[in-house]
């Protein structure tokens, strides 16, 4: 089980916030990952390259950090595949329907003092907590 890691959590959060500020300052874009990905799934002239570039940079940055530092965790394996696929589908469907995820609503939307993002963030955090309670503690289907 993981433990409270205040310094790396805050440091990571500040970097994510800085990345969001820079993207707005330079490109005028909101750093919402589901939105950036959804926009990259359909081709629009002049709108696809920066999205692919952002995602590629994010993968490179995350991978480089993980591979270059002593690994803080071992990647999870053996998680039930059905649960994984259902979860992925819901995350993809829900973030498009609700116009955002943890980064777009949680980090950027709250920073813009958007009421929509505040309501969305409280909703997905609340539903996430309820889901873990049900699957872990009531049904026991989640490891």
């Amino acid at each position: 089980m993981s433990q409270f890691t205040p310094y790396t959590a805050l440091g990571g959060g500040l970097l994510i916030g800085l990345a969001a500020v820079l993207l707005l300052y330079l490109n005028g874009r909101i750093a919402g990952i589901s939105g950036i990905l959804n926009g990259a799934l359909v081709r629009h002239a002049g709108d696809t390259a920066w999205r692919v570039a952002f995602i590629a940079g994010m993968l490179a940055g995350g991978a480089a950090f993980w591979w270059l530092t002593p690994h803080a965790f071992a990647p999870r394996q053996g998680f039930p595949v059905g649960l994984l696929l259902a979860a992925g589908f819901l995350v993809g469907f829900g973030t498009r329907l609700g116009s955002g995820c943890t980064s777009g609503h949680g980090v950027c939307g709250l920073g813009r003092r958007s009421l929509r993002s505040l309501v969305a963030t409280m909703t997905f955090v609340g539903c996430g907590m309820l889901t873990v309670y049900i699957t872990r503690h009531l049904l026991g289907v989640q490891p």
Binding site: S2, T5, P6, T8, L10, G12, L14, L15, I16, A19, V21, L22, L23, L24, L26, N27, G28, R29, A31, I33, N38, L41, W50, A53, A56, G57, M58, G62, A64, F65, W66, F73, P75, R76, L83, L84, A86, G88, F89, V91, G92, F93, G94, T95, G98, T102, S103, V107, G111, R112, L115, R116, T121, T123, F124, V125, C127, T131, V132, H137
Partner: protein
């Protein structure tokens, strides 16, 4: 071209932030969502730290007439809290709680060398496209 380079730079910072905060470990995220277990409040500091920086600096950025490398800001136009927002956020929250991945960390986890994130991301893209078809059909 400069916009693409700027996006790479921002993406790298974002990815390092996610990895430093251990958000690419789904067990870390689930430990935050598990109030009845050994609760780990780290994610509050990740989201709070990120939102703190944007709350402080977004107003300063948005006072400009335009971003550095584009002719205009591209901001969400929707203002109303409606059923789509609520049901979408709820479905996302359920999926998030089921596996511990939200979109950014799931994408970065593709680089860890295990099959799990690939299955999740494939299903996530399928869900996103299914929602697009469903929304377009309703018009």
């Amino acid at each position: 071209m400069r916009r693409v380079l700027a996006a790479v730079l921002c993406g790298v910072l974002f990815g390092v932030g996610l990895a430093l905060a251990q958000m690419i470990d789904p067990n870390k995220v689930l430990a935050f969502l598990d109030l009845a277990g050994t609760w780990d409040p780290s994610l509050i500091l990740v989201m709070g730290g990120g939102a703190g920086v944007t709350a402080l600096l977004f107003p300063w950025v948005l006072r400009r007439s335009r971003p550095r490398l584009d002719s205009q800001f591209h901001l969400p136009a929707k203002r109303r809290v409606d059923g789509q927002l609520l049901s979408g956020a709820a479905l996302f929250g359920i999926g998030w709680g089921l596996a511990g991945y939200c979109p950014g960390p799931a994408l970065v986890a593709l680089t860890l060398g295990t099959a799990e994130p690939w299955l999740f991301v494939a299903a996530m893209i399928a869900g996103s496209l299914a929602c697009k078809v469903w929304l377009d059909g309703g018009r």
